[in-house]
Symmetry: C2
Subunit: 147 residues, 2 copies
């Protein structure tokens, strides 16, 4: 009986691990695809990923921005403009629950000789149809040199 319980528990743990692993791979792939488009001047990769009720921070804003409509207004003027020479996503980590996945990573990007270092948080939520959408995004400068 004990062996049976142990095997059942181990199988359940392995299944949970495998599910988390699957979610993790999927989320990183979604982010990489949106990032690749962004770094080539296409803002719609991210805009298509954001949920209607997305909340958003970046270092250029005075305060949190709320909702896809506002974020679209912020992003669309950048279409075709925000092109990077190179970029690298560093140590992506996903903390996943069944319907929520928190992706965090550091990012180094360069435009010509200028190097940008970022901290990034993306909270993904599994929507009713099964699609994952970003409900919260927080971009900030890594160790900014302040005036």
């Amino acid at each position: 009986m004990k062996t049976f319980v142990l095997i059942t528990l181990t199988a359940a743990a392995l299944s949970a691990y495998s599910e988390e692993n699957e979610i993790s791979k999927r989320i990183i792939a979604l982010e990489e695809a949106a990032l690749e488009r962004w770094m080539n001047g296409d803002v719609y990769g991210y805009l298509e990923l954001y949920a209607d009720d997305v909340t958003y921070f970046d270092p250029m804003l005075e305060k949190r921005l709320d909702g896809l409509k506002e974020l679209t207004k912020l992003y669309e003027p950048w279409q075709g403009k925000a092109k990077a020479s190179s970029y690298e996503m560093i140590a992506p980590e996903v903390q996943a629950d069944k319907n929520t996945a928190v992706l965090t990573f550091n990012l180094i990007s360069s435009v010509g000789d200028i190097i940008y270092k970022w901290n990034c948080t993306e909270v993904y939520r599994k929507e009713k149809g099964g699609k994952w959408k970003i409900v919260h995004s927080h971009w900030s400068c890594t160790k900014p040199e302040l005036k």
Copy 2:
């Protein structure tokens, strides 16, 4: 029949709304309590809230910090030191699922004449015993004036 379905759906929607509202109040109260302790020099309010697998960004770090052990090493030297003259949590917003709640807010704090402006993301997860813990925290400067 239609009326019955409508009443049932409305009751379910109200119940979901009420649950989300309850979670929202609880999460904001947890954060306010930890913040109050932090602003009075007590780092253990937050340390007691962080989960073992917490991931963390702040503007003083070179990269993401992983795990409560590392975060404890970072915070403990600040015990009794980080005292604010005043602070205000601005527009806290909670995006809640059953077991995950994303709290975001802006914060203005002052130490003497110096004013600090922050963007903050806290991702809370409901643990097995029913306690809410922070699994991810991201603090950054609001619109930093870079060198």
